[in-house]
């Protein structure tokens, strides 16, 4: 899938970079603070910890991995900062859309909190112990460490500002296909985007994690299949709508979703999407150049080029009809703006 010519009516193709830089600064600060604060607290415990400390537990509850406490703190701090860096790079390089900046910011904060939680729940029960082999890890710790950082992550994601309106600076290309509509006639194109291996992969992942949690009798681990069920339920089907307001893609669950206003549409076309090669997987995805993909299967897809250097791909049948109507409503939004 290639975009041979980028429409030239984009008034601010680079404006997102400053917004991405700002959002990623905040995300780094919050995520980094969580990890570094936990490392500082753990460092202050060094005198009270056994040497070596338990660093890994087997399914049965007895520790089966040990390391020097000082190096464990450093390894965790490095892991946290490394994960944050990965998300910050994604947000800085590909954060053309606000949704991507939100995901990247939430990812850095969650990583920082997750690593901080792992470090503290690993070391806290070992304070005052003479022998680390006695160390017990509370069963609920894993669930809390996994879920709790979602709260600051969600808050930071909500604080990342939405994209401001950015109407296109010129008309849609003359040779783009249109849906002929009479004056006053209204039209809507509705279609469901489904298919692909998402449902099967989700079922297997949920089943395996649930069976594992039950088999190991680590009930707190049941939080994993629950989180996965929520994730796959939100990702397995989307409704796609083109009407006077523009393009709306929304999970049948109601979230996540996105809207491309008609006056921000530069052009739409039918493309062949390859989810794995272009987006590294299925579902709501970030592709090269910050292209947002709602890719549930390989094959026919609607590509929408949007102002602000943004673009969106949705795998949906009958994409040509959607593209033509989108051009028509984009024309109408331009005509309305001239009045």
């Amino acid at each position: 899938m290639t975009t041979d010519r980028r429409p030239t009516t984009d008034p601010a193709p680079e404006a997102w970079r400053a917004r991405a830089r700002r959002a990623m600064c905040w995300a780094t600060a919050v995520g980094g603070a969580l990890t570094l604060a936990a490392a500082a607290v753990a460092w202050s415990w060094l005198d009270e910890l056994p040497d070596p400390v338990a660093s890994h537990w087997s399914g049965g509850g007895a520790p089966d991995g040990f390391s020097a406490p000082g190096s464990l703190v450093l390894v965790f701090a490095a892991l946290g900062l490394g994960l944050i860096a990965v998300f910050v790079v994604i947000g800085s390089v590909a954060g053309t859309a606000a949704s991507t900046r939100r995901l990247a910011a939430a990812g850095s904060v969650w990583s920082g909190g997750f690593v901080a939680g792992m470090l503290l729940t690993t070391l806290a029960p070992q304070r005052g112990l003479a022998d680390a082999s006695q160390a017990a890890l509370p069963g609920w710790a894993f669930a809390v460490v996994l879920v709790a950082p979602l709260v600051p992550a969600a808050i930071v994601a909500l604080l990342v500002p939405a994209d401001p309106p950015l109407p296109a600076a010129g008309p849609v290309a003359d040779d783009a296909p249109r849906t002929p509509l009479r004056a006053g006639e209204r039209a809507v194109w509705l279609r469901r985007a489904t298919g692909g291996p998402g449902l099967a992969v989700g079922m297997v992942a949920i089943l395996v994690t649930a069976v594992l949690a039950v088999a190991l009798e680590t009930w707190a681990m049941l939080v994993l299949p629950v989180l996965l069920a929520g994730l796959f339920a939100a990702m397995f089907a989307f409704t796609v709508r083109v009407d006077d307001s523009g393009l709306t893609v929304r999970s049948v669950l109601g979230w996540p979703g996105t809207h491309v206003p008609a006056d921000e549409v530069l052009g739409a076309s039918v493309v062949q999407a390859r989810p794995f090669a272009e987006f590294g997987g299925w579902g709501w995805r970030i592709g090269r150049g910050g292209r947002v993909g709602v890719v549930l299967r390989a094959g026919e897809a609607l590509l929408v080029e949007r102002t602000g250097g943004r673009s969106l791909v949705v795998t949906v049948d009958d994409a040509a009809t959607a593209a033509a109507l989108l051009h028509t409503v984009a024309d109408r939004s331009r005509a309305g703006a001239d009045d």
Binding site: R186, A187, V188, L190, R191, R241, T321
Partner: protein, 117 residues
């Protein structure tokens, strides 16, 4: 599928929707088992009253084209047929009507009359 509404046309709004579903089923664009959009969603997108859409869905149900199920919405029941012969003949008819200078209304009346014979 593409839904369109022309408030300026003589045909009632609900009848315009009925005609489009009928055509889409006949052409095979809507297959049996496929679900029509929720009345509220379709109404909002086309700036219609939800009752207008419901009236159209009820008319389609009475025709046996769709089934209305509580909780599942409107589901297409009828299967499409091959219309290629009719469409080819239609193209000839339209060309002939244009040559004769007939309006769309007159042509439609002629077709209706012929079918009632």
């Amino acid at each position: 599928m593409l839904w369109r509404i022309d408030p300026g046309a003589d045909e009632p709004l609900y009848a315009q929707l009925v005609g489009q579903v009928r055509l889409a089923v006949a052409r095979g664009e809507l297959a049996a088992g496929e679900r029509l959009p929720a009345a509220r969603e379709l109404a909002a997108s086309l700036d219609l009253n939800a009752h207008t859409v419901l009236k159209a869905y009820q008319a389609l149900r009475d025709d046996g084209l769709i089934e209305l199920r509580r909780g599942r919405g409107a589901v297409v029941t009828a299967a499409g047929e091959d219309l290629s012969l009719v469409e080819r003949a239609l193209a000839d008819l339209v060309a002939a009507a244009r040559r004769a200078g007939l309006s769309a209304e007159t042509t439609t009346t002629l077709v209706k009359e012929a079918m009632h014979r």
